[in-house]
Every structure is written in structure tokens, then in C-alpha cells.
Symmetry: C2
Subunit: 266 residues, 2 copies
């Protein structure tokens, strides 16, 4: 249960490859399954940012600290080692959401190798960030990355326009990076085609990590705070039904109603 | 860190309300933070399906087992108790994705009460199901519920059409229920307007739970297996770029490439 099935012809003590999502980074948001598999690994591969919180667990292991970029090489290295070692390659958040899962499996499939693979899910940034501001997603939502390194900007714009046009909350990953400071403005322009000035917008930086910063604003007022958006930020743009959540005089976050108010009085 | 800030005028030993996502259900996919907060709770409220795996932890606590429906009453009860007790209300998956977070916060806001609230994120079904079939999401994706209890079917259809039209993977929650057997066919019809017959489709039932069943098929062939879709199922319909992932002769799942193949050779 939870483990992938070995191919029927696999020899015992063959290698294995676990592709693991670590969530926002802190130990208390990493699943026990992820921790167990990392504890049993011979090799652990990942960025320093996500390996550092694991430190005591990595004692005695072969740890390969990678830098941003070079994902294809990192995937290849993980697969090469996994033929005869227990390998864990880790991503922040969920490895299947802008993480390493797809490139590792693409390279694996292309190699023709047959290796025992397990993908371990984690808490992705959309849900980590949302949890810091109440319930901005609640139901239907979309996740769009503003990084046009691998996806043409015109495709990103089509997707943004489509999801904003149907009034669902939208989570923006990679909202701003060096050399791409303008994509966030482009996204806001698409949102404003369909959503009113009072539509809530949340800027969540370092969700559930040290130096966490949460800003709740609106489409009208986001210009004054958008310089806080960076590569450690998740932006959530509310949908048609979303509103600011207040407790007393404090702005606590965003609520997107599920629709109970159409049927019940409370 | 991780805890919400008490309003500045709050008295010590006042109650608290934690809204918790338990992930797919098994203990080894529940975050340590969630377990810690549950361990410290006076009252734990939730469905039996998600409370049962917590059993040893619930010893000595006031446990309120709720049935499906009656979410407004459950939310009200949690808030009433949270004035002077540590209350944990739990959902499967992530509480902010078709869980209890929004209704609890709506009722709370409407009540005018000021209570210490913490939303604890969990692994939502989209990511749990995706992890069982490789990397079907990978990048941009949308999450749509086919339950029209709270959202009009015409709104659901507009959303389905919009997200399928831009070729991103789509995760269907609540794909079928008693009295609503046809919404899945409606969703498939919208998908087929834009996606080819070979587009991969995964039906993941009880992801990471006992009696897990994973079926990988295509838009062309899903008719023959769609009777397996029920209320414990997450369906993932691939996007324009998605393909079946094979290892040797075995169908392992779905890969949606991130786009590295446009830039790198591997």
C-alpha cells in the first residue's frame, strides 16, 4: 500500500527511485511516508533549500545538492544511480506540480530502463499559501505558472484568459523572476478583463516558512504592493464570488463561498 | 510559525479552531502539524472515514462523528465549541479544496465571533491521485467538481469547456454520485470538443487507501471502464501534451511533459 509494484521480473535488492514532494519545507509539513523513504535512501538529491530542513535524517547518506536549472542532468543522474541504489529525489511542494516528477519520468521512459518508482505526494504551494489566508480556493480553481522558460507566453496568456473568464480563483506560480518582471502585469491585465476592482488578491511569500509574508489586497490596490512579488511567492487571485475575510477590524484573508448561501440561511 | 496570530485583545486559555486537511486518509500521509494539533484538541469533528485512522490519538477526546451533508450545522457546532475549547474539525484531502474551510469561515464571519483560527493544509486528492500514475499534471492544471449540488450545472459546463479549450490537464472531483450519473458524460463531451481520442484519462479510486484501483485509459476507451467511477474516485483527463507512460510492456500512468523536450535532447 503506497508502494509501487515491482515489475514481476525484478531481482531483490535492486535499486529504486522515489520522487518526493516535501511540501512548503518545514519538517512538520512533510508526510511521514516521505520521511520514511528518505530515511531508507542511499542517495538524496535536491536543492539546498529543501535538503537543509532534513539535515539530521541525511547523516551518513550520499547527498547531492543541486542548483536551480540542470533538471535534465539531475534526472539522468537520479536514474543512473537508481539502477542499484535506493534514490530519493526531492522537490518542494508536490513533485508533480512544477516539480521534478515529469522530467524524471520522461528521461526514465526515454532510457528504456525498468526501475521501481514511487511518487510521494506533498502539499503543493497552492494549498500551503491558501491555508494562510483562510479559504480562497474552496472549490473549482486553476493553477497557472507565469514562467515562460518552457511554455510560450502566448500559451500562458490564452490559459490565463480562459480561467479568469469563468470566474474561478487562480493560483499563480512563479509569478515573477529575474528577466521576467512583466508577466505578472500581463496576468493582472487578463484578470481585469473579467473581474472587478474589488476582487481580492493575496500575495503569500514563503508560505509556512521563516520570513513568511502575507498581503491581502484587491485588483484595484495590488499595484502598490506588487513589488513584494518574487520567486518565493504564490499569488492567489480570487474568483467572481471571492471576498475579503474579516474578523473584527482585522483582514484575515479571503473567503470564496462554496455556494451554501444559495441554499441555506446562516 | 504556522500558528495564526491571536487578536491582540484575546485572553489566554481562550478556545481555538483548527480546520485540518488529513490528506488521502492513511496516517503516513497526514502532516505532523495536523497530528500535533489533533493531539492537543478537546473536540475533534469529522466524518467516520477520516476519523477512524486517527483512533489511538482520539482517546479521551470528545469526538463528534458527522455524516455527509449538514455542513452548515457542523460548522456552527465547531464554532460554538471553539469559544472555550480547542476544536479540530477535519476534512479529507485539503480542507480548502471542497472541504470544510470555506463554510466554517463563512459561518464564523457571519457570527461576528473572534476566535483563534488555524487552517492546516493537507495533500488534496488531485495530487494524491496524480502520484499514483506518474506525472499527469506537471504544470498548469485545473480542478473542477462535477457535483451540481451547490453550483449550477451550466456554470460547471462553462468552466469545463474553458479549461479543456486551452489543453491543460483537468482533475475532476466528485465525478459521479447517486442521482448525478450523467455529469461525467457531460464532462467527457466537453473534453472531446478539444482533445483527441488518444488523450489519456486516469480513473483513480481510493487513492493511497485500501481498495485502491487505478485505471489508465484514453478518451476513446473510457466508455468501457466508466462504470468504475464513483464518489471515491478522482478522474484526471490529460491535456494536449499528455501521453501514456509505459515501462516495458506495462502501462504505468500518464506523463504530461513540462516542455524540456522543446529545448533539450534526452
Amino acid at each position: 500500500m503506497g508502494e509501487s509494484l515491482l515489475p514481476s521480473h525484478a531481482e531483490p535488492n535492486k535499486g529504486s527511485l522515489a520522487i518526493i514532494g516535501l511540501g512548503p519545507g518545514r519538517r512538520d509539513y512533510i508526510t511521514p511516508r516521505a520521511l520514511k523513504v528518505i530515511a531508507g535512501a542511499d542517495y538524496v538529491i535536491g536543492n539546498a533549500q529543501y535538503l537543509d530542513p532534513l539535515e539530521p535524517l541525511l547523516s551518513g547518506k550520499n547527498v547531492i545538492r543541486s542548483s536551480m536549472g540542470k533538471e535534465v542532468e539531475r534526472a539522468q543522474q537520479a536514474i543512473d544511480l537508481a539502477h542499484s541504489n535506493a534514490v530519493a529525489i526531492v522537490s518542494g511542494g508536490d513533485a508533480g506540480v512544477y516539480g521534478m516528477a515529469s522530467i524524471v519520468l520522461e528521461v526514465l521512459e526515454h532510457s528504456g530502463s525498468e526501475i521501481d518508482v514511487e511518487v510521494i505526494p506533498g502539499v503543493t504551494a497552492a494549498n500551503a499559501a491558501a491555508s494562510r489566508i483562510g479559504s480562497p480556493l474552496s472549490g473549482d480553481f486553476a493553477v497557472i505558472s507565469l514562467s515562460d522558460l518552457l511554455t510560450p507566453l502566448e500559451v500562458i496568456e490564452q490559459r490565463l484568459d480562459a480561467v479568469f473568464s469563468v470566474g474561478i480563483p487562480v493560483v499563480l506560480y512563479n509569478p515573477k523572476s529575474r528577466g521576467r518582471p512583466h508577466n505578472f502585469d500581463i496576468a493582472l491585465a487578463h484578470a481585469r478583463r473579467y473581474l472587478g476592482a474589488e476582487t481580492p488578491v493575496a500575495i503569500v511569500r514563503n508560505a509556512l516558512r521563516e520570513e513568511e509574508e502575507v498581503t491581502v489586497t484587491t485588483l484595484a490596490n495590488v499595484e502598490s504592493v506588487k513589488n513584494t512579488v518574487d520567486m518565493h511567492t504564490t499569488v492567489i487571485i480570487g474568483g467572481k464570488e471571492s471576498r475579503i475575510w474579516r474578523m473584527g477590524n482585522d483582514v484575515k484573508g479571503i473567503i470564496t463561498p462554496r455556494g451554501y448561501h444559495h441554499k441555506y440561511v446562516y
